[in-house]
Assembly symmetry: C2
Homo-oligomer: 111 residues x 2
């Protein structure tokens, strides 16, 4: 019984495949901020930031928090951890096959 929906790495990786989004995440990793605040310290327009925040929120890397008239965003490490765990598992699977191949080769050598 795996968790209802198995984590799809593609959308998450797509969200993490842009340098500007990483800059945003770097800021949000230090402190919560709104789109307007972020636009002040990054060299892109507020609307561009807002779109990025929507994409990040869509994959659960970021969480919107209403604070009066502003909407502040917070970086969520959970999804990143889930992705990391998934990638780790997959990578280990690949290398496991290689070890198996190596074992077979050594067994043949011994014959």
């Amino acid at each position: 019984m795996t968790p209802p929906t198995e984590l799809d790495p593609v959308p998450l990786c797509a969200a993490l495949a842009d340098a500007t989004r990483w800059e945003i995440l770097a800021v949000l990793g230090d402190r919560d901020a709104s789109a307007s605040e972020l636009a002040e310290e990054l060299p892109v327009s507020r609307q561009a930031i807002a779109k990025h925040l929507q994409q990040l929120a869509a994959v659960g890397l970021v969480e919107p928090i209403r604070a009066g008239r502003a909407i502040r965003y917070r970086a969520l490490g959970a999804r990143l951890g889930q992705l990391a765990s998934r990638l780790e598992t997959i990578g280990r699977g690949w290398d496991a096959r290689l070890s198996r191949l190596k074992d077979v080769a050594e067994a043949l050598d011994q014959d």
Copy 2:
């Protein structure tokens, strides 16, 4: 003094942000294969596969192995593991800040 080259997650994530490349990786995770072989069982042309393999090789997710006139490719779990570890660390950093904030809030409650 950080390790010689700090792993940049952006190109790796970009390589992992495409469904076709994951299909290729899924095959290579099971067995080594050449671009032509892959093109036979995936619904894309050999040239498209070749481009994908180049991108995957460029970020070290895949390794080319000359086998006679063919070039077989092998999935490498190492880079995936490095990326996973990096993401894990970053995510933990974000959540650590949140725990700190929560601690402060609780301290204030106790006053």
